[in-house]
Structures are given as C-alpha cells and as structure tokens.
C-alpha cells in the first residue's frame, strides 16, 4: 500500500535528514516511527507528500510521487502536523475541516455536512463554530485530526500526536486511533503510546532505518533503544 524505496530527502543547505529509507506499510497497518530528536521522523513524513524534496520512490496504492501525481497522492496521505496550530488556519473549526473537501471540489453545503459528521464521529461536534485559536491543546489535536480524517485518506501520517496532550486527552486520542481502520504511520517518541496503538515499530537513527519489527519486542529492548537514542519502556524503573 505505502512503499518507500531508497528514499533520501535533503534540505536546501544540503543536510540529509532521511537517507536511503526503504519500508512498506500494508493496508490498515499501524506503524510507529521511533527515534530521538533529529532522527528524521518529521522529515520522512514531509517527504512522503512532497513537501520536502526527496530522491527515491514513494508509492501509495500504485501511485508514485511525482509533480503530476502530487495532488492525487496528497489525497491519499493525510498528514497531521506536530503543532495543531500550524494545521488550523480557518476562522472556525467547521470551516477548517471543510477546507480540504472544498479544495477537492465538493460544493460548500456538502462539504460542511461532511465536516460536521467528521466532527461528530470524533465527539467534538460542539467545537464546530469555535475559533481554533481558543481551543485547548487536546481539542486542537482532535480538530486537526478531523481536518485530515474527513478527506478519507488511505494512509494517515501523524507527527508527534501526543505532544501537548494531558493524560485524558491522550487516552481519548489513543481510543480514537485504535478505532480507525486506516493505515497509519505515527512519528513519536512517546513509547507507551506507540506500544498501545501500533503493533509494528520502525526505529530511525540519523535518518536511516535502524530496526523494524513488532513493538512488543523492539520497544522493550534497552540495548537496542539505547543505541537508537531513546529510552526503552521500563528503562526508568
């Protein structure tokens, strides 16, 4: 479903945050991207949708990343940014959720109806008329998720989804993600969260894939995680 072959991304200054990454994500599979700060998690997600220029091949449902396919590919991959404030830019939550649908050419009324349904599905229908600037961290995160889920992507790419969340909001998010059957690539260094949501983990170190396997094995291996620059679950006693 998602296939990366020898993906190498580079910033204009020549820095290569992602180097020769190859991996596959199957339909409905939830994969955690684990790594220390600067390991290349965010850059990998940005390079999937062409925001960060990259060499190598990105293929989603047979569609390869290239300038001609970019709009279609971005419909297939829904990116939820690390900071929800970057994602929510319209005057109200409802308009923000409807934004992507309207860009896809859906009439305004239908887009709003669908947006309302998406908000209800995430139990945040009450936020529809509110301005994103005044939401709590948890509400913003859920609203940002709704803006992407409403587009019905085949792959959901989430960047540090538990950042800024309190335990209750975090629990809500975990339940919500576990209830979805969409394939997911979740960049995080919240290992307990990754272990609860994702059966599989890909460890990144210095932009390269360092290990790939079941979460229950990788995330509890202190030596492996230490080598990756992250503390294993239970390592702090």
């Amino acid at each position: 479903m998602l296939k990366l072959e020898h993906l190498t991304a580079a910033y204009p200054d020549g820095t290569k945050p992602v180097q020769d990454v190859s991996l596959c994500v199957e339909d409905g599979q939830r994969v955690a991207l684990i790594g220390a700060n600067g390991a290349g998690k965010t850059s990998l997600i940005l390079s999937l949708v062409g925001v960060l220029p990259a060499d190598g091949a990105v293929t989603v449902d047979g569609l390869t990343l290239c300038p001609e396919n970019l709009p279609a590919l971005r419909r297939k991959i829904g990116v939820v940014f690390q900071d929800p404030d970057d994602q929510l830019f319209m005057p109200t939550v409802l308009e923000d959720v409807a934004f992507g649908l309207e860009n896809q050419g859906l009439p305004a009324e239908q887009a709003r109806k669908k947006a309302r349904a998406a908000l209800e599905a995430l139990h945040i229908g009450a936020l529809a008329g509110r301005t994103p600037l005044k939401l709590s961290g948890g509400e913003k995160r859920m609203a940002a998720l709704a803006t992407v889920l409403v587009l019905e992507p085949t792959l959901l790419a989430l960047d540090e989804p538990t950042a800024f969340l309190d335990p209750r909001a975090r629990r809500t998010l975990i339940n919500c993600l576990k209830g979805l059957d969409t394939a997911m690539l979740i960049a995080t260094h919240d290992l307990p969260f990754a272990a609860q949501v994702c059966p599989r983990a890909v460890l990144l170190r210095e932009g390269r894939v360092f290990a790939d396997g079941p979460c229950r094995e990788l995330l509890y291996d202190p030596a492996l995680m230490e080598a990756c620059g992250v503390e294993a679950i239970g390592a702090d006693g």
Binding site: L46, P91, F99, A111, G129, T131, L133, L151
Partner: protein
C-alpha cells in the same frame, strides 16, 4: 504584552462574530460588499469642511451592527485605533490653516480645526464600516466574493495571507513577550537595547510558522480561496438591503440633509 494579546483577542472575536446567524449575517456577501463600497465612496467624496454632512453617515454602522447583534463598542474601540494616525496627519492642517471659519461663542473655529475634525470623523466612519463588514461576513466569504467580482487572484491571495499572517505574528509576539517578562524583563515594555534582536527573532519565527501553515494548506489541496463563500444568486432581501443602504447614502451625498432638517424645524 497586554495590548498585543488584546488585539489578538479582538481579531478572533471579530471572526467569531462573523460566524453568527443574524439577518445581516445571512445576506449575500456581494450585497454587503457593494453596500460598504457605496458608503465609503459617499463618505470619502464629501468636502474637507463638510462636517455636518457627514453626520447622517453615523447611522449606517450603528444600524447594521445593532441588527447583526454585534457589540458597537467592540467595533468602535478597534476603529478608534486608526484615529491617532489620522490626528497626526491632520496636525499640519491645524498649524497651517489658521483663518477663522466661524465662532462658537467666544471660541474661534479655524479652517484647520474643522478640516482636522472632518478627517477624524471620516476615518472613524470608514474604518467602522469596514470593521462592521468584517464582523458580519466570514473572511472566506468576502475573499470568495472578491474573486467572483474579478479582483485579481494575486491581490486576493495576498489579502488572505496578510490576514492569516497578522494572527500568527500577534500570537508569536505575545508568547515571546511573555517569555521575556518571565525571565525578568522590564515590566514597562521592551527596552530599546533588546528591541532589535526581539523584532528579528519575531520575524524569523513568524516566517517559519507561516511556512509550516502553508505546508499544511498544501497537504490539503492548497488554497483555492474562499470556496466556502456562498455561491448563490441575490435574493429579494439582498436587493432590499442594498437599496436600504445605498439610497440613503446617495441621498445624503446629493442633498445636505442636516441643513434641510434644520430648515424644517426652524421654519
């Protein structure tokens, strides 16, 4: 920090108000835009000493905001922010045009004073009208309407980006000032010595932030611009509103209504 936070709060407050559902809010954005345009033209085309003739135009923002259930004070407070700049511009009139126009009892009213007063009232009216429009029409509807009125797409996109960037800039400035104060910064404001690096950092950060917002927009199909705007024909209510605003405005422009009313009462 307080003024910036307050300004940001008022910006979002206007956005919230624009999402209400009053009869004025439900009108076609084109009708509201055209009515505001006619109002501005009438106000701006009056002479520089016609203070009295401007007074009927005070009714428009008051009536529209009342019907739309938008607090008049909020709009007036924001409109008043423009007055110091206009007062500065009118200062030269006060100094250069000293010939006496009329006497109010023992107080002489010079041409400069009268023209300065007209300038301030005109600014207050124009800014109030634009803010009233912003408070009764979602920004996306306005820009969508501007596109349909064949305004160059580049100009509309620039308007949209400036509007969004303003919010980002204010938010970023507010957080930076809070952080500055919490680390023992001056309680009275930013010292000149720190201002250079503060403003530099602010611009860099808000630019980086704007870049990320742009990326998020791109990931959801870019900004086709105001597609949320109402793409419906004018209804009877829209035409009625347009007539109810434009006809009195044009009448007040063609005839000196205060003078006419004065004559009626005197005779």
């Amino acid at each position: 920090m307080k003024p910036i936070a307050e300004q940001l709060g008022q910006l979002t407050r206007l956005e919230e108000l624009a999402g209400q559902n009053s009869p004025i809010h439900r009108l076609h954005p084109g009708a509201k835009l055209a009515a505001t345009g006619v109002y501005l033209l009438c106000v701006l085309s009056l002479g520089r000493l016609q203070f009295g003739r401007l007074t009927p135009y005070l009714l428009y923002p008051v009536v529209v905001l009342s019907l739309a259930e938008v607090p008049l004070g909020l709009v007036l407070r924001r409109a008043a922010l423009a007055l110091p700049f206009c007062a500065f511009a009118g200062l030269s009139n006060l100094l250069l045009e000293r010939q006496v126009l009329l006497w109010l009892g023992p107080v002489p009213v010079t041409v400069g004073l009268a023209s300065c007063g007209v300038l301030l009232l005109r600014a207050l009216l124009c800014v109030s009208a634009v803010l009233a429009l912003a408070a009764v029409t979602p920004f996306g509807h306005l820009t969508g309407q501007l596109r349909r009125m064949r305004m160059p797409s580049f100009c509309v996109a620039l308007l949209e980006m400036l509007y969004r960037y303003l919010g980002l800039l204010a938010g970023q400035a507010g957080s930076m000032l809070t952080a500055y104060r919490l680390r023992g910064g001056s309680g009275t404001g930013l010292p000149v010595g720190h201002m250079g690096s503060f403003i530099g950092q602010l611009l860099l950060r808000s630019t980086a932030r704007a870049q990320r917002v742009y990326q998020a927009m791109e990931c959801r199909g870019g900004f086709t611009g105001g597609s949320a705007a109402q793409k419906r024909p004018f209804t009877r209510n829209d035409w009625l509103y347009l007539a109810a605003v434009c006809l009195p405005c044009l009448a007040a422009r063609a005839v000196d209504l205060p003078l006419l009313l004065g004559r009626l009462f005197v005779c």
